[in-house]
Amino acid sequence: MSTQDGKIDGETLQPERKVSRRKFLRVTGGAAGAALLVACGAAPTTSSGATGGQATTSAAGASGGATAAAAGAAAGGSSGDVQFWDMVWGPNAYIDTAKKVVDQFNQANPKIKASYQSNPWSSWPQVFTTAVGSGTAPDVSTGGGYQAIQFYPQGAILEIDDVVATFKPDDFLPGQVEAMKFNGHYVALPWGIDIRIPFYRKDMFDKAGVKPPTTWDELRPALKKLTSGNQYGIAFPGNDNAAWQGMWGFVINNGGGLFSKEGKLDVMNDRTVEALTFISNLVKDGVVHPGSAGFSGDDMMKAFSSATTAMVMFVPGTEERVTPETKQNVQLLAPMTGPHGDKGTLLFANNLMLYKQTKNPDATKAFLKWWSANSLPIWTEGKAGNLPARTSIAKDPYFQNNVYLKRILDEWVPIGKLTGANASGTFPVLADIDMGGAMKTMASDILQGQDVKAALQKLEAAIKGYKTFKG
């Protein structure tokens, strides 16, 4: 089997022996739920967690839903319970707004009862893996760029080819829907776009007499001019995935990537080495904040806010993470031209996926379609940090009147590429690359001044050691 060829064995897709572990997780989940019930002394509600309460809800949904589903099918509509798990995509207002949108769905679809549960990012691998393994997975959830492909080979994700067929392809940003395709099937729907883009402090640039760079040749001397004393040109958060993601923006800007167009692992290609050598040279120049290797995202933003760093490669909404006074000075850089004339950056298509455990697939698909088309308030009111994958939502004045978001949508999103670049589609090893820590180690190595080729060789060896890497 070769993930790079976009093929996978049937055996892998149809697990042979999953009973014992699922049973174990189910028993453990049930026991934990019972313990929680005893400890709390209260009956669980839908939002009480991923154990007993949800198992009960699912069971109720299963029995009631089966009858209702039959009635719904006879009536030509979908019905039943739909459990929706959502990640925290924005500030506190996000969760309340998302709940409100779910309520709107329930009002518009009285035969379907959708429930909402918010999940923090800090524990998502455990939460979803345990839920899927113990049979208490939601019907539908949002997730990171590679969550669907992480669970799909293990038989947990429901293909949504029929749902995708009902959409107009041009209502999604170019290439985003196809990026969800694996082995000829759509495993998720893209609903949000996350992207890495350079922000700079105009006040610091002006003070140093530096114009916003348009090429890499201009960037290096600009960062040198911006560095003096305890003030540095650029910072990366090495203790966070955002470090490698920021660096990979440069790699894609240079036409590099982890894979060849044919889907073969190609870590050591010239363009990738060249881009990372450029960053390594910035480290050697002393223009990269020396705390970078140990910085979290918050540490980096603190350095940016306190004017000890003039530039960061970060996420949409970076300007909202500083004080209102500082925000006036935060500007978005236009895409730079690499040494070979390329433009580009790293992009993620956030997944909206269905789980095979759903008892009400029709109702869940109805919810998926509705959410994809009607989730505008999670940006306008909930202030979600990503951007919409649907062009019909992106055309809303909320995005078009925001100078940062409009520029990101117009200038950056069209040149964005996924982690699997330069291969197309999605494939299982990308989930391990995204989460496994090897990319973070590579970024830390470079930020600590280690040799680029040695760091990349280590990365290549780590990827080849991943269970999901085939061939």
Binding site: P15, E16, G238, F295, S296, A303, G436, K467
Partner: protein
């Protein structure tokens, strides 16, 4: 002559033979505990070992691979590094927290002003939830505007990025661990100090011994038995410690502070490689069992 056998008198006098009766009552009383131990200890232990012999994920059992996962561990650079770091972390944490705990215990064993207050105050690092204390440490040392660097800069020194190089991060993780652990050492050693008979010191004083000699020949020998137990317990807790390296550095930079617990978590949950994750955990358990056995033997000898 009668053919009837005459019973031997001695036989008749012997009490009738009774078959030993099985008393099940003690076993019934033991049953709940045995079930509980089986559920809490033996089942996860056996399941973990079973997983370590398979090439599975959290959702699929995978093929049986025998001891291949254990063999593979020793060819994995990240495992060898985690093993090395776990040892380093344990040795320095145990030594550092014991020395600090001992010094403070000796001090608090004296008649000093506000001794009661200090006895309580010094327990705070042990009482504060780890998430609060470790994140606070992170704020203090992670960047140039943290408290420690502000103080360094006030003295005209350059800021130190404690979490940004492998060596400084290793040092920082150990320091935080020592800070979190010394109160336990302090409490235990202080209790032991208070059991030493004052007359021993008075006798030593009459014989002309100084304070160092009193410490060397009276205090230290008295503290050694409890210290031995503390060293072993602290070694087990250090090797098993997940939250200190994870919350402070997430095992970075460049895996410099990744111990066996963090590595097992990474393989199990982030890489979904349960076989290797379980093998790391099982190996760690075997390693710690050596210490536990030594501790149990020691306790048996003492008893």
């Amino acid at each position: 002559m009668s053919t009837r056998a005459i019973p031997s008198p001695s036989r008749e006098l012997r009490p009738p033979k009774r078959s030993p009766r099985f008393d099940s009552f003690p076993f019934i009383l033991l049953l709940p505990s045995a079930l509980l131990i089986t559920l809490i200890n033996i089942y996860p232990f056996a399941t973990g070992f079973y997983y370590s012999l398979q090439d599975g994920t959290l959702l699929q059992s995978g093929a049986f691979v025998g001891l291949a996962n254990f063999v593979q561990l020793f060819s994995m650079p990240d495992f060898l590094h985690a093993l090395w770091f776990s040892m380093l972390f344990a040795v320095f944490s145990v030594f550092g927290s014991w020395v600090l705990g001992l010094l403070l215990a000796l001090l608090l064993n004296q008649e000093i002003p506000a001794r009661g207050f200090f006895r309580v105050a010094l327990l705070l690092p042990w009482i504060i939830p780890s998430i609060v204390s470790i994140v606070s440490w992170r704020w203090m040392i992670s960047d140039q505007s943290g408290l420690v660097n502000v103080m360094l800069q006030a003295f005209g020194l350059k800021p130190i990025y404690f979490l940004s190089t492998g060596r400084w991060a290793t040092f920082s993780v150990i320091v935080v661990k020592i800070w979190r652990s010394f109160p336990f050492m302090l409490l235990s050693l202080l209790a032991a100090l208070q059991t030493i008979n004052r007359e021993s010191y008075e006798a030593a004083g009459i014989d002309g011994s100084g304070s160092w000699q009193a410490f060397r020949y009276i205090t230290l020998p008295h503290l050694l038995p409890i210290s031995f137990v503390l060293w072993i317990l602290m070694t087990i807790w250090s090797v098993n410690d997940f939250e200190t390296p994870w919350l402070l550095t997430q095992g970075g930079p460049s895996n410099a502070t990744e111990n066996l617990s963090v590595l097992a978590y990474r393989y199990t949950f982030l890489l979904n490689n349960v076989g290797i994750g379980a093998a790391i955990s099982f190996f760690t358990m075997l390693l710690l069992m050596v210490f536990a056995i030594v501790l149990l033997r020691r306790q048996r000898e003492t008893t």
